[in-house]
């Protein structure tokens, strides 16, 4: 394990206990649903009970007449005010779906689509009234399956398009057709990744409060990016942005799902404006399943070409993604990311992947931890195992032959992204050692003689983090900034407040950002506070906490702003001590003249003088507040190798994970415990996606999985204890060397466990071509029907 050399201070890299924990542990946190305002009304949504229908009429008279009801909104009302559409932020050239209605007015296109919203004295009354809204639906033909949606004669979700294709996007390098035609070995598979979703334990929620002045509005939102929400809200409601304030209080998990701004949140604001009273809307779990963004559904037809030694010659892939009835806020961004990250850590030149995004009568698809990279890794790593089996090569050996080496970095991948730094082969070797790969290969053979089916699965990925240079956001069509904007202010007591536009949804930013700041300023960790989640008090940054960017972009901004404060401290201390600034050292809360330990001032003494401004050097502005707007030069790429040993019970289909190891590298670690928490938490979600979680629609577009009885999340009895190894090779172009680590854990498990299951069932010739690997799915793989 190498350690970053340029570590700025002791606090960076320390396992500091989190600053945010005491309030969370003692019930004193404040989530959106804890916000209770005088005179507050409660909203409930009337949702379509069918997947596709023309709305003949909507009768709200009974609801409006119900005692305790204050307002009812339907699509017609919004259209009359010109506010009914939600914009898509990530738009590809030629993309047909660039906005979606807040409330369906002519046609409902998926089960659970909002048709009306009610504000009433209580949630009970609001629900009663929502049930009294009479909608006359004329059912239309339903298309649920994305492949079927491409067939001639399929029902059209948006008839004016003429087909169900949202957009096609191609990523290409080299000469893949020739490479495949000439290759000695080509493996081909059809691989499916199921529809699943993030499912944070806190559902979405909003509290809107109208202000006293014209256009004033305050909105508390369970959201990952309050500034972006504010920009959107102001635009959707045609409000002056400077009168709008958005707060993200404590947020109970986001995982991408709360990256989005949703129609219900804007509608809650509209109800507050209309009634002149605060309005609260809290999503219930059933609404969450039908109306928060789904994710990940893709169907790949992929070919991988290699020579006899297993050297990859090219990858040709076509895939369909099911966007749902409309593009969500992030459009087809996750699948565009799949195109970018499919080559993974492997060395090859010839590549083409073609995405066809399709609409169906299902809920819109959007962001979920991994953002297309889970699917990319599932597909690429499945193909690596298929190739190993074809060539009768050890899958670890095959990977080692193809992994990009440290000497080859930085290197542009065939998808056009420049991987910056790392040691992929070392990560794999470490992971193999952690699971005792050679030992298990021997035990696997021995136990097979007893009829026991042991499988070993490997899988690695490179992960795009630190999003990103703003100009690169433009290149991929993502209408969002890539910089981070922070201010660092030292008060007259010498304590420090960091103001940042990002917003934590559990990752521990109050801790990690404070560690960076305290390291730079030589003050105790406890002397740094981090203010976030409020657009009125923090600098503008519309990207928010998404795409594993907080450490790699926000952390750098905090570091650089803190350095400016430190520099000013030294300048002022030099003035007060009558020394040269170059001779003043800042450490352990003191500013000391080099070689003269007795000539010193405390940070607090200097901070007091800075605030008083009675005796400043010529030209120095009063106070100690510095701003940094950091826009990275490049993306930075984390990576990891996962390895698992499983046992499959062929009689029951039950899978037991015997060993699971992760070796990862996110550059310089700010707080290893926080990093490990991100990896292990992501891993649990990845295991859920590999083994349990699936959003299942029937042929009529009814969602069958709308409670935790049907949509199974992994619990402590399913998630294994993990052996974790760290590499720590700094990011190449990021001051501080930080890379992102928020998503990585969730990326590899479906690939790794699919590879392990196929390995365990190799004797029966099973091919794992989809997830989730439920006991039923594994049983069918282990007990194939005899050929007729």
């Amino acid at each position: 394990v190498s350690v970053a050399e340029a570590r700025p201070g002791l606090l960076v890299g320390a396992r500091v206990t989190r600053a945010e924990d005491p309030k969370l542990l003692t019930g004193r946190a404040r989530f959106v649903d804890d916000i209770d305002l005088p005179g507050m009304l409660h909203a409930a949504v009337h949702r379509s009970p069918i997947a596709h229908a023309r709305i003949r009429s909507v009768d709200v008279s009974a609801a409006l007449g119900h005692p305790g009801v204050h307002a009812v909104l339907i699509g017609e009302h919004l259209a009359a005010r010109g506010v009914g559409e939600m914009a898509v932020t990530w738009v590809q050239p030629g993309q047909k779906s660039v906005s979606y209605p807040m409330l369906a007015s002519d046609v409902v296109r998926y089960l659970g689509e909002a048709v009306a919203i009610v504000a009433a004295d209580s949630r009970y009354v609001a629900e009663d009234a929502a049930e009294l809204i009479a909608v006359d639906y004329e059912p239309l033909p339903v298309v649920v399956d994305a492949e079927r949606a491409l067939e001639d004669g399929a029902p059209l979700v948006h008839p004016d398009w003429g087909d169900n294709v949202v957009v096609q996007v191609v990523r290409e390098a080299g000469h893949v057709d020739r490479a495949i035609a000439d290759a000695p070995v080509v493996v081909r598979e059809r691989l499916k990744v199921q529809r699943s979703m993030a499912v944070p334990l806190e559902t979405r929620g909003a509290v809107a409060s109208p202000g006293g002045g014209e256009g004033e509005l305050t909105l508390w939102l369970s959201n990952q990016g309050p500034h972006r929400a504010k920009t959107h809200l102001a635009r959707m409601l045609r409000l002056p942005e400077h009168r709008v304030r958005v707060l993200a209080p404590d947020v109970g998990g986001g995982f991408g799902l709360k990256d989005h701004v949703y129609a219900e949140e804007v509608l809650t604001a509209l109800l507050a404006i209309d009634t002149g009273r605060p309005v609260k809307w809290i999503e219930d779990r059933q609404e969450h399943f039908v109306a928060s963004v789904h994710a990940r559904e893709q169907l790949h037809d992929i070919e991988l070409a290699a020579d006899e030694n297993g050297r990859i010659l090219g990858v040709r892939d076509r895939f369909i993604t099911d966007a749902g009835a409309y593009c969500s806020n992030v459009g087809v961004g996750p699948s565009v990311t799949t195109l970018g990250m499919l080559p993974g850590p492997y060395r090859f030149e010839n590549y083409r992947s073609q995405l066809t995004a399709v609409v169906t009568n299902k809920a819109p698809s959007g962001a979920y931890r991994g953002f297309g990279q889970t699917q990319a890794t599932f597909v690429m790593e499945r193909m690596m195992d298929r190739l190993a089996r074809r060539l009768e090569l050890d899958p670890a050996e095959l990977r080692l032959r193809n992994l990009v080496t440290p000497e080859e970095l930085p290197r542009q991948s065939p998808a056009g992204l420049t991987y910056d730094s790392g040691d992929y082969p070392q990560a794999l070797r470490d992971a193999l050692e952690l699971i005792d790969y050679d030992g298990w290969r021997q035990r696997q053979r021995k136990l097979a003689e007893e009829g026991r089916r042991i499988g070993i699965g490997l899988g690695g990925y490179v992960e795009m983090t630190g999003m990103g240079p703003s100009k690169e956001m433009a290149l991929v069509g993502f209408n969002i900034n890539g910089y981070q904007n922070v201010s660092v202010w030292m008060d007259p007591q010498g304590r420090v407040t960091v103001h940042t536009g990002i917003a934590s949804s559990g990752q521990g930013h109050q801790t990690t950002l404070a560690q960076i700041c305290a390291s730079e300023l030589g003050v105790p960790f406890e002397d740094v506070a981090v203010v976030q989640g409020d657009t009125a008090t923090t600098p503008y940054d519309a990207a928010g906490s998404i795409g594993s960017r907080t450490a790699a972009v926000g952390g750098v901004a905090v570091m650089l702003a803190s350095r400016k404060v430190a520099s000013k401290l030294r300048d002022l201390a030099a003035h007060l001590l009558e020394a040269s600034p170059d001779d003043v050292e800042l450490a352990d809360g003191r500013l000391t003249v080099k070689g003269s330990p007795s000539t010193s001032l405390t940070v607090r003494e200097v901070a007091e003088q800075a605030a008083l401004a009675h005796d400043l050097p010529d030209g120095m502005a009063p106070g100690l507040e510095e701003r940094e707007v950091y826009d990275p030069e490049h993306l930075t790429f984390s990576y990891a190798m996962h390895a698992a040993v499983v046992e499959v019970d062929a009689a029951t289909g039950v899978l037991s994970i015997l060993k699971y190891a992760v070796v990862h590298d996110c550059g310089t670690m700010i707080n290893p415990s926080v990093v490990e928490g991100q990896i292990l938490g992501g891993l649990a979600q990845g295991i859920g996606g590999a083994l349990l979680e699936e959003l299942v629609y029937d042929g009529d577009g009814q969602l069958l999985t709308t409670t935790f009885l049907d949509y199974l999340l992994p619990s402590a009895t399913e998630v294994p204890f993990v052996d974790l190894g760290h590499l720590e090779i700094p990011a190449l172009a990021v001051p501080g060397g930080f890379k992102g680590t928020g998503e990585g854990g969730a990326i590899a498990p479906p690939a790794v466990l699919a590879n392990a299951v196929e390995d365990a069932l190799a004797a029966s010739g099973a091919v794992v071509d989809r997830t989730p690997l439920t006991p039923s799915a594994i049983w069918h793989l282990a007990n194939p029907e005899p050929a007729p």
Binding site: T26, E131, L201, E283, L680, F708, L713, F721
Partner: protein
């Protein structure tokens, strides 16, 4: 509790004084009435408005259906026997071991503190443990109407998903499992509180049902300045991230650790928190925190020492 989890349609709650009283209420209201036993299945349906009964007959008052006894080569469970009682009952473990094992898979122990044997059987969820075991072991159901009592074998009793042979006005009063003789349900459990010292999920207990009971929330487990051993161990082990599920874990572990008479193994901790959902941490740090918390509690003599 918040609007997030409880927003049922209007209903009338009647607390039965006795089984006869309950039968009279059921007889008077027919199909409009539902029996409220532990509420672990019915209350979520009511909260989600998937079930909208006009009348709820609360059976939790009378004690006459709380019993486990052995007679005529069968272990007999009064319908209101809590699953937690069954789980800890020596005669069940000895004479109906499959049932004793299966009940451990019912939700988490907060569910079992409140959930009843009869409630689970009468709800007839095909994914639930007790109906499956009842069919497998040829159990018998004792069913009372206002004027009659009949015994129905399990295969006849269960007619389909959520459907039983119970007629309107009838009540399941006892289940008989012959002596000697997996599926799971997950709910998040973030709303867990202590009701008279036992962990229950507050979002599916009616306020009227806790009249006179002692309710402890996470705020009551420590003061602001000093964390409890469990809370401190969570912080030390990074066993929380967003913190939304954390109070539920802390409260239920308070009961779990209080009742431990030796250091729990990792497996026992996993089972204790199994089907309690955390979406951030991946559980490993929570298990480590529980191990640490036990040691700390032992050290401060808050746990019964093995010595």
């Amino acid at each position: 509790m918040s609007a997030r989890s409880m927003k049922p349609a209007p209903f009338t709650l009647r607390r039965a004084d006795s089984v006869d009283h309950a039968l009279a209420l059921l007889g008077d209201h027919g199909e409009d009435a539902r029996v409220l036993a532990g509420g672990q299945s019915l209350m979520p349906l009511i909260n989600l408005r998937l079930s909208q009964p006009a009348l709820l007959v609360d059976l939790n008052g009378p004690k006459e259906l709380h019993y486990v006894c052995t007679a005529d080569s069968a272990v007999r469970f009064g319908a209101l026997t809590r699953q937690r009682t069954l789980e800890r009952d020596a005669s069940t473990a000895k004479h109906v071991p499959l049932l004793a094992q299966a009940v451990m898979l019912v939700g988490h122990f907060q569910n079992r503190n409140r959930g009843t044997v009869g409630g689970s059987l009468a709800h007839a969820d095909p994914a639930a443990e007790l109906p499956t075991v009842a069919v497998a072991l040829d159990a018998e159901m004792v069913v009372r109407g206002r004027d009659s009592t009949r015994t129905v074998d399990a295969k006849t009793f269960f007619q389909g998903p959520l459907t039983t042979a119970l007629e309107p006005g009838e009540l399941l009063v006892e289940a008989r499992f012959p002596a000697w003789g997996r599926a799971s349900s997950y709910r998040e459990g973030a709303c867990t509180i202590l009701l008279d010292g036992h962990a229950v999920r507050s979002c599916i207990v009616l306020a009227a049902q806790v009249d006179g009971a002692e309710v402890t929330t996470v705020e009551g487990l420590s003061d602001v300045t000093a964390l409890s051993e469990i809370q401190q161990a969570f912080a030390d082990n990074h066993a929380l991230q967003c913190g939304f599920c954390t109070p539920g874990f802390v409260v239920s572990l308070h009961e779990f650790l209080r009742d431990c008479d030796r250091a729990p193994t990792s497996h026992e901790i996993c089972v204790a928190i199994g089907s309690k959902l955390c979406r951030c941490t991946g559980y490993q740090q929570i298990v480590e925190a529980v191990t640490d918390a036990y040691a700390a509690m032992l050290a401060s003599a808050e746990v019964r020492s093995a010595a």
